[in-house]
Every structure is written in structure tokens, then in C-alpha cells.
Amino acid sequence: MAATAFSASKFTQSFSLNSTRSVDRPPLFPASHPLKTTPSSFLGSTRKLSLSSPSSSTSRRRRRRPSRSPAVVAVSEVVKEKKSKSNVSLSNPLITNEEGLELYEDMVLGRSFEDMCAQMYYRGKMFGFVHLYNGQEAVSTGFIKLLKQEDCVVSTYRDHVHALSKGVPARAVMSELFGKTTGCCRGQGGSMHMFSKEHNLLGGFAFIGEGIPVATGAAFTSKYRREVLKEADCDHVTLAFFGDGTCNNGQFFECLNMAALWKLPIVFVVENNLWAIGMSHLRATSDPEIWKKGPAFGMPGVHVDGMDVLKVREVAKEAIGRARRGEGPTLVECETYRFRGHSLADPDELRDPAEKARYASRDPISALKKYMFENNLASEAELKAIDKKIDELVEDAVEFADESPLPARSQLLENVFADPRGFGIGPDGRYRCEDPKFTEGTAQV
């Protein structure tokens, strides 16, 4: 097992907290309690909390405050410390041959796709703000490849690779980027708003933090379906991906609170790439160790090396498993790095070339390749075949997008309202959506 991710100092405090509120406790009130129709372990009820909070508050007081040196500790220092603990190579491979190839293929798809995006952008095929994911593939692949189709993923503007990992076809993503009508959002969303109902990708959000409540809502639906609608097998999990900058935002904290309070089946995945455009995480955050913020809200906080897809996958298995079993949320901080600038418009002058070189040497794709060769999980030829297949796939996606039509004017007004009567009643007494010009996109609304 990847011992580093679960080192005791990070976990135990939060586990003791959680054990006082475990789901297995017998109902505290008899079934005939006048104000309760069925006994439920739902923790939102104050009647339950009043009994459990004294013990939880004492355990909070008993918890040792982790010692903090007065100087700001560079996250890279923490990483070095963890790396030295984990230089023992594992005797049993963590993955099978098939799994390894699947992970490799997904990461290469992410990388090639993003590289192609850069090319297309500079050739004037796509415009606006495009944020590329190069270097962070291990996080997306490590987490999303463990999900079922019904599980939900919520992302930020750096969402192309999350979409691809979740199963949205490369053609649909590329068309969306080109603004074509065959795109996954009919060309109406763009780079920062990838959605897919079929694959349960709930977006694609341009403002940081605004996707986290949406993810919390999706997790709430999962719990609602199980407990109110009595769909006993509904164990859908939601993953919320966001960055280090978001962890200073109110919505992050508010949702950590609500998710832990109601034990929602959600995993908060922080893609800490140390930079929020040009703002270093250390300059923006009083306590840069984001994983610590989990236990403050009563959920486990885990730090993992986000450049190593196997470590991420192990942590993800545990966190997703927890959520599926109804044990509540987890905060996972993945230390990762983006090889390119914040967006294609970012000159990326602030970051130290030495730092970039350091992380480039930890490229997740090369690391996985090395692991698979060392453990005889794949041959050179197999991996080269995957590389070729992905190249062709991405080329095909570009061709498809190129040949796809641009949205017609008729598309302009179609999706503003789910019920187009929302445009109201015109002076002639008819609903505006009944106006023949409405479908042409030229109606006055």
C-alpha cells in the first residue's frame, strides 16, 4: 500500500472524530418519538447532535495541534520529506496489466489532446480563455477511472481532461472548443463549460469555487435518493475538482461544512499546482497545507503526490469507497503541477525555471511508463501502439471538429429556458416562443 498517503499524523485525529458519529450507532430515539416518523441517522437533526457533540468537542480539545514552524514551510520541502519515506519500491504491483494500459491510455489522451489544443489555438481555430492540463493528468486519471458512469464529476475551467477521463468523446470536446454545433454543449459552453448529461459531467465553471456547491448538491441528490426516495442501491459519488486558489474561497469552506455535517457522498479533490495564475499558493494562504482543513470540519484530510498516478489511485479508492459506504466526505490534496501557463494567454514568467524542471522530471506519464516496464506490466510495443492510437484519435477529433457546422442562427434562443414559455407573452397574445421567428433565432424576446 502507498504508506505515505495514510501516514498516521494526517489521519488519526479525524478518525476519532468520525467514530463518535458513525452510522452504525443504534437510533437514539425510539421509533414512536412524536417528532420523528422513522428513525434516521441523518445528522442534520439537532436532537442527535446535542447528544454527540460533547464527546466530539472534547476530542477536538484533546487533539494535538500539529506543530508549525514560525517560518512558512515550502510545500516542496514537505514533498521532499515524503519522497524520502517512500523510496522503497513495492514488491507487488498495484495494478494489473489491463489497468496499467487503461491508465496510460487515459493520461496520454489527456496530454495529446491538450497539446493539440495549444496548436489549434495558435492556428486560430479556438479563441478565448483556454486552460490546459498538461502535467496534472495523474489526478484526473487516478480518480475518474475509478468511477461508474452514474457518478458525477464537477470541475473548473481546466476541464478538458476531466471530460475526457469521464468518457466524453474527444470529438465532442474538440468540437465544443471549436465552437461547433456538434460540440458536447452545442458550441454554447466553450472551453470552460464542458457538460455531459450522459457521462454525468456537471461542468465546467468559469468562476473558481462556484462548482463546489453544485457538486455538493449532486451528492445531496444521491443521499436523498437513497433515504427519501428509498432507492437503496443508490450509492453515487460526486467528485469536485478545484485548485489551490479556490481553497481560500468561502464556498470551499461552506461546502466542507455542509458535506461533513450531512455525510454527503463527495470527495473534494484539490489539484494544488502551487500557482493561481501568478499568485503563488504560499503568498496567498496563511496555512498552505490544505489537507489540514479537512479535519477542521470533521472529515479526513489527505495529502498525496499528484504526479504519481498510482498513489493518487490508492488514495482515491479509499476516499471514493468511504463516500460509497455512506461514511461521508474526504478532502484530498494532490500536489501537482501544470507544465504550461495558467492559460494559453499567460506568458508564465513568474515561475522559477528550476521549479518547472523539477516537476518536469516527475512527469506522470513517464513515471507510469517506468513503473510498468520495471514491473513487466507492458512492453514498449504495447505502449507505442497506444501512443499511435491516441494520436490518430486526436487527429480524427480535429478533423471532425473542422468539418462540423457552425451553429445556425436558429440555435440562438433554443436553450435559454428549459420551458420556452419563460420568454413570456408578446403583445399579440401569443407566447413569444410560438412566434415562427423564434425558431429562426430572430424573434424579439
Binding site: G44, Q188, H193, G203, F220, V416, G424, I425, P427, Y431
Partner: protein, 404 residues
């Protein structure tokens, strides 16, 4: 069109006297199967067509609710109806919808055990459980976003803002996600959420608890806004908003919650996009909504005594405007007075003025007069507060000016 015909101070058989108006305004609407319509029977009884093709015999409430203090008189006709207060009507609508569809849920601060700060959700948590009537922590932006995420994944949440002003904190979610997600997802996800809460100027609640958010939200594409003003339309609009697949913001008013009225026993759902004819008239069209309706009706009493015949329309749908009802009225009276509680700058009245000018300019005999609240943070002192709002006396003199 669905309309409540109300005569001021009338008691018996007001329907008969307004037959003429009803028949003339039916026009092409009889042929429109999709919309609510009013049919007058030969015995003078009126009934309204409800949603889509359904038509039920129903007695129209014909009492005049002129001011807050007046009690509703008994409904004309054989069906009894039942009397209740506006907040109870909201709760009834909510409860009926929650019974009808298990995906309907409520979330907000103090909606559960406390029963809602204005008791709109009283008793619901006991009936439906803590998860369906969810008490949230004080985090408007996040729980509104949570409601949106739940709506995207299949639930039909109703988010309560304890006071509408608190929804300023949720503006990010309401604007970006609520309004826009259906579009940016290419129509893949719908957001059937209802955001409701009390707003408006109360009794010396202070500036921050006396806000009118309808003006701030009206530009957001993709949302609908409605304002209820009577127990009857409160229940009907609540039900319509819940059933709608669009995100709807339902504006209630702090001072209207205790209005008593008799409402039908049968189920009814009103149309979100339609305005309500409160009092038909000939001389001037007065457009209003929410609490100002009562100031207008009070002024109307005086005006009628002075020989004027104002037509009062409660626009109800703040976004989009029902330009058909409004337009027909303008074409008849040629004079428009807008009375609203919104701020002067950029308020609903301002938008309505622009819309009427654009569409019905040729029918106007005089410039549109818009009476709104002063662009002043609502003061605590009672006298000052009164002066920031439009009072009936101002309405009377504005009409007199207009009709010179």
C-alpha cells in the same frame, strides 16, 4: 386569460356587471387551447380554464381586497372555499406539490424545525423529514448552489431566502449557475429550482432587511421572476413555480403574509407569465405588483369617488412581462401609471416603461408616469420610511395629473 375580476366595494354578483368586459377581452384567446381562459356562462357564473386542456368549474373569488385591513367577503357561488392567511396559502401550495412529487424538497435557514421565519414551512419537517425540509447552515451562496446541483441531478428544490436581501450573497450562484447553466450546457441540464423569500419594505426593519431584489435579478437571462400579492395568487404561483422546469424566483412581501382570503378548495395552478386584472377601467392603466397593489386599490377608492375609472393590473410576472394584458389595457386607456416599491433607478418600473414605450408608443396619449421608491437606503425612522415609499395620496394626484 386567467383573471380575477374584482370590483371595489361590490358585494353581490359582480360577475354579471363585468360580463361585457370579459366577453370582449376573450377574443382570440378562446381559440388558444394552451392558455388559461375565462368563460362566462349564461347564468352569470364565471369559470376559469386551467392548465393546458384541463377545465374545471370553479367559482371566481369576486371580493375586493382593497386594503390590508379589510377582510375578504364570502365568495359568490355555491362552493365554499376555505379561508386562510397568505403564508398558509403558500404552505398549502408547497405541501400539495410535495405530496404530488417526492422529488420536491425545501432547503433554507430555519425552514425545518423552526418552521420558517414567517411560518411558511411550519409543520413540513415533521411530516416529510429532515432531509426533505432541510435546515441549512448560514451559507446562502453555497446552499443555493447546492440547490442548483440538486436540481441538475433530478430533484426539484425550493430554496428559501430568510429575507430576500440575503440572496445577495447567493448572487454568484443565481446569476451564473441558475440562469445560465441550461444554456451553457447546450440544454443538457435543466434547473427546475424555485428561489423564494420575503422582501420589500416592512415596518421599520432597517435598510438591509428592506431590500427589493427584483431589480437586481431582472437582467439575468434564463430565470423567471414572479411576485405574489394575494393568498389566491400566492398558492397558484407557488404551485406553478414548482412545476415549472425553469428556474423561478418567487418574490413574497413581509407585510402581506397575514392577508386573509377565501380560496377555492379545488386544486388550481396559475400561469407564471400572465398578469392579473384587478379592476377593469377606462381612464388610466395602473400597473403594479406585490404590496403596492394595496396602495393602488386604496387610491382607487378615492379616485372612483372623484369620478375616475382606473384600470388596475397586478403584473405578477416581473420577468417576462405579460405584454398582452398590458398592451390591451394601454390600447384602451392610453394612459399608464406604474406604481412599484422598487427603487427608481433600474427598477422593474424602469424596464416596464421601456417595454411599453417600445411596443405601444402609438397608443399613448401621455408619457408614462412611474412612481417608485426613492433611491434611498430605507431609513429606520417610521416617518422617513413612509416617505421613501409611494403612498396612496401620491397615486391619486399622479392619476389626476395624467388624466388632465
Amino acid at each position: 386569460m386567467a383573471a380575477i375580476v374584482q370590483g371595489i366595494g361590490s358585494t353581490a354578483a359582480p360577475c354579471a356587471s363585468s360580463n361585457k368586459f370579459l366577453l370582449s377581452s376573450l377574443g382570440s384567446s378562446l381559440l388558444e387551447k394552451k392558455r388559461n381562459f375565462f368563460v362566462v356562462r349564461s347564468d352569470g357564473k364565471c369559470y376559469t380554464g386551467l392548465n393546458q386542456q384541463q377545465r374545471r368549474a370553479q367559482n371566481v373569488v369576486t371580493n375586493a381586497v382593497a386594503t390590508k385591513e379589510e377582510k375578504a367577503s364570502a365568495a359568490v357561488g355555491s362552493k365554499p372555499g376555505h379561508e386562510l392567511l397568505l403564508f398558509e396559502a403558500l404552505r398549502e401550495g408547497l405541501e400539495e406539490e410535495m405530496d404530488r412529487d417526492p422529488c420536491v424538497c425545501v432547503m433554507g435557514e430555519d425552514v425545518g424545525h423552526y418552521g420558517g421565519s414567517y411560518k411558511v414551512t411550519k409543520g413540513l419537517a415533521e411530516k416529510y423529514g429532515d432531509l426533505r425540509v432541510l435546515d441549512t447552515p448560514i451559507a446562502e451562496n453555497s446552499f443555493t448552489g447546492m440547490g442548483i446541483g440538486a436540481a441538475m441531478t433530478g430533484l426539484r428544490p425550493i430554496v428559501e431566502g430568510m429575507n430576500m436581501g440575503f440572496l445577495l450573497l447567493a448572487f454568484n450562484q443565481i446569476s451564473n449557475n441558475c440562469g445560465m447553466l441550461h444554456y451553457t450546457s447546450g440544454g443538457q441540464f435543466k434547473i427546475p429550482i424555485v428561489i423564494r423569500g420575503p422582501g420589500g419594505v416592512g415596518r421599520q426593519l432597517g435598510a438591509e432587511h428592506s431590500q427589493r431584489l427584483e431589480s437586481y435579478f431582472q437582467s439575468i437571462p434564463g430565470i423567471q421572476m414572479v411576485a405574489c400579492s394575494t393568498a389566491y395568487n400566492a398558492k397558484g404561483l407557488m404551485k406553478a413555480a414548482i412545476r415549472s422546469d425553469n428556474p423561478v424566483i418567487l418574490f413574497e412581501h413581509v407585510l402581506l403574509y397575514n392577508l386573509k382570503e377565501r380560496i377555492p378548495d379545488e386544486e388550481y395552478v396559475l400561469n407564471l407569465e400572465e398578469a392579473e386584472m384587478v379592476r377593469p377601467g377606462e381612464h388610466v392603466t395602473i400597473l403594479t405588483y406585490s404590496r403596492m397593489r394595496y396602495h393602488v386599490m386604496q387610491a382607487a377608492k378615492t379616485l372612483v369617488n372623484n369620478g375616475y375609472d382606473p384600470e388596475v393590473i397586478d403584473i405578477r410576472s416581473l420577468k417576462p412581462f405579460d405584454l398582452y394584458t398590458i398592451g390591451n389595457s394601454v390600447k384602451k386607456t392610453h394612459r399608464v401609471l406604474i406604481v412599484e416599491e422598487c427603487m427608481r433607478t433600474g427598477g422593474i418600473g424602469a424596464s416596464l416603461t421601456a417595454a411599453i414605450n417600445e411596443n405601444f408608443h402609438d397608443h399613448l396619449d401621455a408619457p408614462i408616469v412611474c412612481l417608485s421608491s426613492q433611491d434611498v437606503p430605507t431609513p429606520y425612522a417610521g416617518t422617513l420610511e413612509e416617505w421613501t415609499l409611494v403612498q396612496p395620496a401620491q397615486i391619486v394626484s399622479a392619476v389626476e395629473q395624467l388624466c388632465l
